[in-house]
Symmetry: C2
Subunit: 271 residues, 2 copies
DNA sequence: TCAAAAGTGTTGAGTCTACACCCATGT
DNA sequence: ACATGGGTGTAGACTCAACACTTTTGA
C-alpha cells in the first residue's frame, strides 16, 4: 500500500483528456435617461454590455465578455477580472447563472463555461467608459417569458438584437432552447436569458436592486431599479412600506430636483 | 484575413494550460422510519449518500460521489451518470449547487467541480441498495444556520459526522468557510452545506418536495417531506390549503393504515 | 372501542392594494 | 403658481396561523 504522498508523486493529471474552462459575464448596469422637464426625475433602464468579437470564431458577432479561467484563479476571480477589464470597476455583485457545457458550444473545442451576472453600481450615461473598444452597452428593452417563450430586445441606438428562446423545465432544471439562429455568438443568447430571468427573480424579492445604486440613495431611485428589472410598476406608498425594514435613514437629503428633497437611505446591515 | 475555417484548422486548444472538470453529486432521498404503533404513519428523514474513498487522495475518508466530466457528455449528464452508478436509478431532479474552484481543493492538481443536489424519488428503507460497496446513506439529523454558523450532523448508525462552517455573504454570493477540519474529503463539507441550504429554500417554496415522492402520494406524505427538509412543523389543515392549487386529486385511495383512507394526489401540471 | 390521520370551518391577526391626501421644493 | 416627488393615513380585500370540530378506518 502506498502513501498519499507517493500516490501524488506518480499521478499526472495531464494524462487525461480534459475540457477548457471559461467564465462568461453578463454585465449589467442602469443607463440613465434624462427626464423631459426640470422637475421629472431621470428614468433608468437596464443595460447589458456586449462586445463585438474581433477574432475567430464568430468574428464580427456580438458576444458576452468572457475568457478562459487561469490556473491561478478561481472561476469567480476570473469573472471579476473580466468584468473589471471591460468596465474599469469592480462589480457590486456577482451572481452565478449556471454552467453551460454543451459539447459543441465552441467550435475551437470542448469549452465549459460558467456564467455570471455582474452588477455595476451607480448608474452612468450611455456610452461612457471604454468606448474606444468594441464594447457597447445595449439597453434591455423588454424581456420576459410568455406562453413558454422567452423574448428580449437589446438595443444600442444603431441596432437591435432580438432574442427568442423556448423555456423548458427539465429534470436538470430550467433551460432555454434557441428558436432559430440567435443574433449572438456561441450560446450566449441562452446565458443572457438565464441571467435576465435570474435578475428579475432577485429584484422581485428586493435582493439585487441595492447593488445597482451607490451606498446612499433615495427610495424613489430604489423603486425605479425594481421597476426597471421587474417591468411592473408599484405605487410609491406601498413600495416605501415594503422596503422600510430593509433600509435605514441617513441624515443626508437629496436636494436640487424640482420638488421636495428626499431623505437618503442606506441598505440595512443584517442583524 | 483568414476565414473561420482556416482559423480553426490551425487552432489547437491543447496548447493552453487548463484545469480538469468534475461533477460532485449530493444525492438525497428520504429514509423511512417505521412508526411505533400500527396506527402511526412512518416518519421520514432526509438522507445523503456518501462513499468511503477507496483510493488516494483522502483514502478512507467520506466523500460525495463524483467524477471527471467526459469529453462527450455535459456536466449535467455527468452528474446524472454518477448518480445512477451509485443508486441504480435516475434522480427525479438535479439542482445546480454552484461551482467550487478553489485552487488547492484537490491535491492531484487543478480540478474545478460543479456541484449538484440530486433527488431520488420514492423513500426506501435504510441500507437498501448497493450496500456491498462502500456507499452508505447518512441521515441528516439537524441542520441550519444560526448566528452565522452552519451546522449539520450526518449519521449512519455507526458513526456521526459533524459539520461546522461559517456562513459568509460576499459580493460573489453565499459561501461557507470550514471552521476547523471537517470530517469529509476535499471541500465536500462546503458543497454539502450549500446543497442543504438550497434544498431547504426550495422546500419552503413547495418546490423540491414533490421530487422525493412517487407520482401519486398523500398530502400527509407531502407534508412530511416538507417538514423533514425545513425542520418546521406545519398544521395539516393549513398545509392542505396552501398546496391545494399545486396538486390534483386522483381517484385512488391509500388504504391499509390504521385510520381513514386518504386520497392520492398528483402534482398539477403547470398551466 | 379508539388512536390516528383525513378533512372542513371559523376566527382574529396581520398583510397588501388602492386611493386620498398634505408637504416641500425650485423654477 | 404648480408639477413633481416625498411622505402619511386608511378602508376593504385578502392571506395566514391557530384551533375546534367531524369523519373514517383497522386492529
Amino acid at each position: 500500500m502506498i502513501t498519499e504522498k507517493e500516490f501524488l508523486e506518480h499521478y499526472s493529471i495531464a494524462d487525461y483528456d480534459r475540457p477548457s474552462v471559461a467564465a462568461d459575464t453578463a454585465i449589467f448596469r442602469l443607463s440613465i435617461k434624462e427626464g423631459e422637464s426640470f422637475r421629472r426625475e431621470p428614468s433608468c433602464a437596464l443595460s447589458l454590455l456586449l462586445i463585438k468579437r474581433g477574432e475567430h470564431p464568430f468574428l464580427g458577432e456580438w458576444a458576452l465578455p468572457g475568457g478562459f479561467v487561469r490556473m491561478d484563479e478561481t472561476v469567480e476571480e476570473c469573472a471579476l477580472r473580466e468584468s473589471r477589464e471591460e468596465t474599469g470597476v469592480l462589480p457590486a455583485a456577482l451572481i452565478n447563472a449556471g454552467v453551460f457545457s454543451g459539447i459543441d458550444r465552441d467550435p475551437r473545442g470542448r469549452v465549459i463555461s460558467n456564467a455570471f451576472a455582474c452588477i455595476i453600481s451607480g448608474g452612468a450615461e450611455p456610452e461612457a467608459g471604454s468606448d474606444a473598444s468594441d464594447a457597447k452597452w445595449f439597453e434591455v428593452r423588454s424581456f420576459g417569458t410568455r406562453d413558454g417563450v422567452f423574448t428580449a430586445e437589446l438595443e444600442n441606438g444603431e441596432l437591435t438584437l432580438a432574442l427568442r428562446l423556448e423555456r423548458r423545465e427539465l429534470i436538470t432544471g430550467r433551460h432555454f432552447i434557441p428558436m432559430g439562429k440567435q443574433p449572438l455568438a456561441f450560446d450566449h443568447a441562452e446565458i443572457i436569458a438565464s441571467a435576465l430571468e435570474l435578475l428579475r427573480e432577485r429584484a422581485e424579492d428586493f435582493e439585487a436592486i441595492f447593488d445597482f445604486l451607490p451606498d446612499e440613495f433615495t427610495l424613489y431611485a430604489l423603486q425605479s431599479v425594481q421597476e426597471a428589472l421587474t417591468g411592473k410598476p408599484v405605487s410609491p406608498a406601498n413600495f416605501r412600506r415594503k422596503t422600510a425594514e430593509l433600509v435605514e435613514e441617513t441624515d443626508a437629503l437629496s436636494h436640487g430636483a424640482g420638488h421636495r428633497p428626499a431623505k437618503l437611505y442606506r441598505k440595512r446591515r443584517e442583524v
